[in-house]
Amino acid sequence: MRLAEDSDDELVVPIRRESDLNHARMIARETCKLVEIRGYQAQKIVTAVSELARNIARYTGGGRIRFRVDTLTESIIVVAEDDGPGITNLDEILSGGYRSRTGLGRGLLGSRELADRFDIQTAPAGTTVRVAFDYGGRGSRGSGSRKSRGGSSGDRDAGRGKAWTTSTR
């Protein structure tokens, strides 16, 4: 079994079951090492990857996590894709009103809190979550203190003119 596939500019980790989460976290750590991120910044990325991978393993038939380092914008881009049925209660989840059967129900919301940019597209054919973490001294946003968000619009930007959005198709 291949743990990760290396394409030209990204690393892809297939997620089918909960045991694949360890592989996803390992690749996240290695990606952080690659750009010399450690401490809180690395912890944010690994934790967000863990949350996104668990959502895929638990709620969908399978999917993948893509890792990419964008040296131009100095950010790590993580894309979590699945072929599941989509998220019907996205607004409820992102507003913090949802509580999963296992307890905290903060996986997706937590990932949004941790990321510098967050985008989610969900439809009956599947869900794609895209998160970006800045590195290289420009990623100080949100270090340590909770950030305020408005509803599920999810429109976030770390100051480079990009507007990432959230949508339910």
Binding site: E18, S19, L21, N22, R25, M26, R29, G39, Y40, A42, Q43, K44, V46, T47, S50, E51, R54, G96, T102, G103, L104, G105, R106, G107, L109, G110, E113, L114, G142, S143, G144, S145, R146, K147
Partner: protein
């Protein structure tokens, strides 16, 4: 069960010390709850000390497992104390808005032991060292014959 998922439970008088380390898998977390609860019953434990000093990542699922463990342990008459959460992990949990309701958390394993009423009464293994320490700024000051 695979050895890789084994959870270490160390009996410590009437307490149970559970050190977690590395990348804790979901399977390990699940086994942790079963193992600890069984040990509480078998050993009639009064307290569970879960030390997280060696844990690499603490996500919402693992927090939920620990909260559930503490709740179940309390039902069986045992208090749970978490120790050793790294600063970067604490900051990440805070940023995610995750709390650990109903679980007592302390900085170090020593603090956790203190919470269970286990304190140090012997200064060192070697009595000569004690004599030496007593006469240094680390000790309790000069001995009677040095004053």
């Amino acid at each position: 069960m695979d050895d890789i998922n084994q959870v270490t439970c160390i009996p410590l008088w009437d307490c149970l010390l559970v050190p977690l380390h590395g990348d804790v898998s979901d399977e390990q977390a699940e086994h942790l709850v079963t193992e600890v609860l069984e040990r509480i019953k078998a050993d009639e434990c009064y307290g569970v000390l879960v030390d997280l000093s060696g844990v690499w990542t603490l996500d919402s699922h693992l927090c939920s497992v620990l909260a559930n463990l503490a709740l179940a342990a309390r039902m069986m008459g045992a208090n749970t104390v978490l120790s050793g959460i790294k600063p970067e992990i604490a900051m990440t949990l805070e940023a995610m808005g995750i709390e650990l309701p109903g679980i007592e958390t302390v900085a170090t394993l020593e603090d956790a032991l203190g919470k269970m009423g286990i304190t140090r009464s012997r200064r060192s293994r070697d009595a000569e060292d004690d004599e030496f320490l007593l006469g240094t700024p680390l000790g309790r000051g000069p001995r009677e014959d040095q004053r």
